[in-house]
Amino acid sequence: MLTQALFRALDRKAIWVIGIFLAVAILVPMANLLIPPGQFGHVPTYLVSLLGKYLSYAILALALDLVWGYCGILSLGHGAFFALGGYAMGMYLMRQIGTRGVYGNPVLPDFMVFLNWKELPWYWQGFDNFWFAMAMVVLVPGILAFVFGFFAFRSRVTGVYLSIITQAMTFALLLAFFRNDMGFGGNNGLTDFKDILGTPVQAQAIRATLFAATAIALALSVLVCSMIVNSKLGKVMVAVRDAESRTRFLGYRVEYVKLFAFTVSAIMAGIAGALYVPQVGIINPGEFEPGNSIEVVIWAAVGGRGTLIGPIIGAIVVNLGKSWFTTVFPEFWLFALGALFVLVTLFLPKGIVGLWKQIFGRARAAHPDTTPKASADIERGEDPATFGDAQPRPAE
């Protein structure tokens, strides 16, 4: 059955996307490690980390798209799952510092020492073990999403109400992690990492490896998402997105479909966060900012939601733009960013991918048989997340 799902998932587009990222996972580290600096084709180490950061954002955007673009759940709290995964990784990295902290305490991180903590709190236990930490990267966001989703979907909290309570969730976590009494380093967060798996995090080889891991994780995420959306469950998800009540009346347990998508998506976001932290070298409560979660939504929208490649393109393009503008026009980059969002929503409602299809769709109109089936479904559908009572809707 799994092979069948795998087979179905690997339509031509998915193969291309996965192939590209697997190639990137090999080529970039090679260009970094094997080609000496100064020579044509060398990728500087800092660029490797930067690209790694973009790719982890791309995983996050893809995770959001799975729930929003395919299942119609607009989560304004995906940054929280990302940050939780990041914190789990950060806690592992903190424990690896060992006696190299400024106070030389073998167990307690520095911030606990100078706030006079005497022993490690219970929730920090076990994080010195890499595999335990990796399990937590998956479990903490997964369980939170499961519990949160279980109650929310069972109570049929939908549309904007769901968006707002996910925002409340990430805002509450933001405030909680800001508290120094929580034992997560407060506003400063976790930083000054030394080792990962016994190798210095700043080593060129580790940076290249982390990048490769991120690219592979992205390829796997695309594969998993592709498997889900091409399965029967995926069709039900789209049905839930387009007409939730009707799907329910047809006998599907809508809440379980949503719960599944939400939990899988949260786990992906957690993994993205875990890959992000060692590459940027810090995790702090700022990642829980509701604004960050909104930005993720915007990446997906810019790239084109309801597609697998769209959010990836969106995350990379928007962040490239951000990196570029903050250095070239430090005073004006917010204008550019703001204008981008306005223009994309006004003129590219289906994002960059939609634009692509518009341009090439015309060219293909002569060969209608080559139009991919999945995208036709989406284009026919209503807006993925219509809500409220003010909108004219087709008769139900």
């Binding site: 990137v24 080529l27 970039v28 260009a31 600096p37 100064g38 020579q39 044509f40 084709g41 060398h42 990728v43 500087p44 800092y46 660029l47 980390s49 930067l50 690209l51 950061k53 006696t99 190299r100 902290g101 400024v102 106070y103 030389g104 305490n105 520095d110 911030f111 020492v113 100078f114 706030l115 006079n116 405030l175 800001f178 508290r179 120094n180 380093g185 407060g186 506003n187 400063n188 967060g189 930083t191 000054d192 990492f193 030394k194 700043q202 940027v280 070298g281 810090i282 702090n284 700022g286 490239l320 990196s323 570029w324 903050t326 250095t327 070239v328 430090p330 005073e331 980059w333 917010l334």
Partner: protein, 434 residues
């Protein structure tokens, strides 16, 4: 600058387009020295940091008018960290690796410093950090030109305990919940207990960032202060939350004569945002006030106001810190005849430059500087009236003597110790530093 953007554009093309394109074309030796400016120009911290960016541009322009450094002109490279701390680390790396800056002036918050610190360590570059901070740190590549707790908090408490300050016996330590207030209050609490203040005479209160509803807390403070003993508030409340806090104090009728508030994060810049008439007499402890009457200060203020084109603009303590840090760096570069980080680090310790309050700022082996401590009372024109000043310059202490874990630590970046956390008991250095 145009040349610069071209190079950046090239780099971006490299980043955006292909992995193949090489981003390394380090141009032939430039005839300028590049100075990185790493401040938030947008987001929550822009309110404080934008002025510091302008200050740096102003100082660089002045230095260039004097002929630059080592016969070369200085070239500022400004980036916006947008109050986003992972971005700060990324941009710090970019400044050093791509833009080839020789020194960076920047950061305001502790988290920004903590975030970029590993980058400066790894790439062996220089950071001058201009803001008062919680201490408990000394890093080879960082120069702390703001105050450490012993240069701000402890003298302020001493003043309030003295007869001049009102012989205060009860203390409210109110702060925003982040690392600077937490650490400062830990140090102060220990210090007060050592001075014989009873535990029940100390009230500690933390609030979130940007807290705007102070009704309950101010009325608690009022109640705490009306129990017969003279009470004072030591405020480590962060920037944004101060305006509503002081407004509430004024509205609930807490006057400075009854319960004075001494703040460590409120300076001229923050006060320019509100009407200070109800606040007259509340205090702040800094190492510089705009109202200090010295020729150096007068010259600095008028040159700054000329540069910025407005006589309304104020100067403040972190600006002076940048002024000192910049001048020390220039002197160190000239002494070392090089902008190489190692040479500058070796040359800078022991150098001194005049500060704006009539004293000399000396770079100490622990990479902190000597400072006078001034206590000022807020006046109705938004300025401070200095009511107390330490007689001698206070050397910055990287490791507080009032925290048990750090009392025996010391930082010394000169031979033979050459380490940021030297343990005076075991005579060894922590493992982290080299």
């Amino acid at each position: 600058m145009t040349f610069f953007s071209a190079k950046r554009a090239l780099l971006t093309a490299a980043m955006a387009g292909t992995i193949v394109a090489s981003a390394v074309p380090v141009m032939a030796q430039d005839d300028t020295i590049k100075v990185g400016i790493l401040h938030s120009l947008s987001g929550t911290m822009a309110i404080s940091e934008t002025t510091l960016k302008d200050t740096m541009l102003f100082l660089i322009e002045q230095q260039n008018a004097k002929g630059g450094v080592l016969g070369k002109q200085l070239e500022p490279v400004v980036v916006d960290i947008a109050s986003d701390w992972p971005l700060a680390a990324e941009l710090a790396r970019q400044l050093i690796e791509v833009d080839d800056v020789d020194v960076v002036f920047g950061c305001w918050t502790s988290v920004c410093r903590k975030s970029v610190l590993p980058v400066f360590e790894e790439l062996n570059s220089l950071l001058f950090y201009p803001v008062q901070y919680e201490g408990e740190e000394s890093q080879r590549n960082v120069f702390y030109t703001g105050a450490s707790p012993n240069q701000q908090a402890i003298p302020a408490v001493d003043y309030l305990m003295s007869e001049d300050g009102g012989s205060v016996e009860r203390w409210v330590l109110a702060g925003t919940d982040y690392v600077y207030p937490q650490t400062t209050n830990k140090i102060l609490e220990q210090y007060l207990l050592d001075k014989g203040v009873a535990q029940e005479d100390i009230m500690i209160n933390y609030t979130p960032f940007g807290h705007s509803d102070w009704q309950t807390i101010v009325s608690d403070i009022k109640a705490f202060g009306s129990e017969g003993k003279k009470t004072a508030v030591v405020s480590t409340i962060n920037g944004d939350a101060n305006v509503p806090f002081y407004r509430e104090l004024g509205n609930q009728g807490i006057k400075a004569e009854d319960i004075p508030v001494v703040a460590f994060s409120v300076g001229e810049e923050e006060l320019s945002g509100f009407d200070t008439t109800p606040l007259v007499g509340h205090l702040a402890a800094w190492n510089y006030f705009m109202s200090v009457d010295t020729p150096e200060n007068e010259e600095f203020i008028s040159a700054w106001q000329d540069y910025i084109g407005s006589t309304d603009r104020v100067t403040n303590d972190p600006m002076e810190a940048h002024y000192i840090g910049f001048n020390l760096w220039v002197k160190a570069v000239e002494a070392a005849q090089s902008t190489e980080a190692d040479a500058v680090i070796d040359a800078i310790v022991g150098l001194e430059t005049p500060n704006l309050t009539g004293g000399m700022a000396t770079m100490l082996p622990n990479h902190h500087i000597t400072k006078p401590v001034l206590i000022g009372e807020i006046q109705d024109d938004g300025q401070f009236f200095v009511v107390s000043e330490t007689e001698e310059l206070v050397p910055g202490d990287a490791w507080s003597d009032y925290l048990p874990e750090s009392a025996m630590l010391e930082a010394d970046w000169t031979a033979p110790i050459n380490c940021g956390n030297y343990n005076t008991e075991t005579k060894t250095c922590g493992a982290a530093a080299q």
